[in-house]
Symmetry: C2
Subunit: 340 residues, 2 copies
Amino acid sequence: MAQETASVPTDLPVKRPREEEQNGASATGGAMETENSTDNGTPGISSVIPGWFSEISPMWPGEAHSLKVEKILFQGKSDYQNVMVFQSATYGKVLVLDGVIQLTERDECAYQEMITHLPLSSIPNPKKVLVIGGGDGGVLREVGRHSSVEQIDICEIDKMVVDVSKQFFPEVAIGYQDPRVTLHIGDEYQMFKLGKNKIDLNTFSLLRSSGPAQELFEKPFFQSVANALRPGGVVCTQAESIWLHMHIIEDIVSNCRQIFKGSVNYAWTTVPTYPSGVIGFMLCSTEGPSVDFKKPVSSIDTSTDYNKARGPLKFYNPEIHTAAFCLPAFAKKVIDAKAK
Amino acid sequence: MAQETASVPTDLPVKRPREEEQNGASATGGAMETENSTDNGTPGISSVIPGWFSEISPMWPGEAHSLKVEKILFQGKSDYQNVMVFQSATYGKVLVLDGVIQLTERDECAYQEMITHLPLSSIPNPKKVLVIGGGDGGVLREVGRHSSVEQIDICEIDKMVVDVSKQFFPEVAIGYQDPRVTLHIGDEYQMFKLGKNKIDLNTFSLLRSSGPAQELFEKPFFQSVANALRPGGVVCTQAESIWLHMHIIEDIVSNCRQIFKGSVNYAWTTVPTYPSGVIGFMLCSTEGPSVDFKKPVSSIDTSTDYNKARGPLKFYNPEIHTAAFCLPAFAKKVIDAKAK
């Protein structure tokens, strides 16, 4: 089992204040009404399809994706957010933070495999990995597939996310069973100090609920990341949707281009339960051995006991790795201009 | 302007009967409630987010995508279906047939450009094109970008779709202004007889509302298509979602592999307002000059007057063409097995 360290002091806020109410929806995002509920005055509850969960947010105004709810399995409030798990009719169990879908059992493979293997397959023999966020454990499960990896640190601010995942998503939280994993509950800045110039890969499985998470997409933050990486080390972070957030993506690419002296690339993939059905990834490397993210250099050894136990990859393969960097014309024009 | 022929006799049904009611949703698919509406007993109307349009169908049970409605611009009933146009808050104007979103101004570029340029860029100097469905005119607009094309026939069964597109979607229906275009209102089987062994490209922009459209995905239908194509001619049809309809896709690929003696390939792209956020395409070629769909052989001459007037492509480019054929592991496994 993974070790669990004492909490790291949280001297810097990770979550930013919610945006103001907009679009007629509760600013907490999301809306839930059980079949017997008639109370539309409760915060976060609005008039939606009875018995369905609807994801409404000022981050994607004017549209909402809804899933039919079979049963609510957990509702709690941590120091940081509202945490909910429900059994959906057709997407398996669903984890929701502050009204925003984080994962469903049916499509979590796409996000977890891509945010992990896009960067890890782009460098030879990765050894030290730092995961920020991703408390559900799915990224850990995928990192563990790379047999060269010796050390996996994960820094998650909200212990409730870890606990809930272990209870309701055992096939995701299985990532914690890897003896290479150490869980740190707390703020990520301390982790960067520990990892200075040592880390091969830093993956950010940022909470989608934190919206544009401005401070995590700005230069001082990326500078901390760059400092923590070894020469030629890489970072991969969730980076919004090309259909919804081109203005944010433009800023992220621009900031990364100034901070990271190696490669700076944007990739994307399909995730049905994320707004607009896609999610992007920002991949950067530091000065040092050059990294061509578009051409995977290491493959996953499927014959290891670890990979046999976890079963085959559901989503990632080398072809879809390369394809993920091909952008539609409207996105390519903007991103290429900023990435140079 | 395009010519418009007399109606072709419709001796065969194009639309199949609706599937039975399922999942608590009206079997007509879709649900609409205006802000002042309180009538939830009308067929096709259910309790959804007030002032929003929700797309509910037994074809994608347990999930629904909703768009905020600013104003309903048109509601009509043709001999074949219910036709609606509304102004959405964030996706521009939206065309809905029998409760299912056909296109929005914001993302129509992805579907129209990919279903057209994937096949047309895969063969040298296409001359004769037959479009089945796609009465909105968007595919015509894209076909016209290829300057080698001399003749474009479109066969649309529902004249109301054409009229509504010309009235509310001028930037889509602009495709009809091409003098190479001839519009045939009626059933497509007559078109196959007219086109026997002559057509370079046959594109099916099938109505998504017709669900799996069983008879259009079965062998006799594909045999008619194959007969209409010249040796080395190609067909591209809408082919559902890898996330939702792998069992249907498996059958389509299997049928196509038996009928088409050339290449048989599956591609996909992102369309935010289609269920699960993706749509697939089936691309096949007949016996004759070999076609490698994954490698575009002809490019669009952007210097022609036609292309200057239409403006640049928004979505398609040669890289995303090749990337569209890269499938996630779960889909590749099934499709590759059937395509061989």
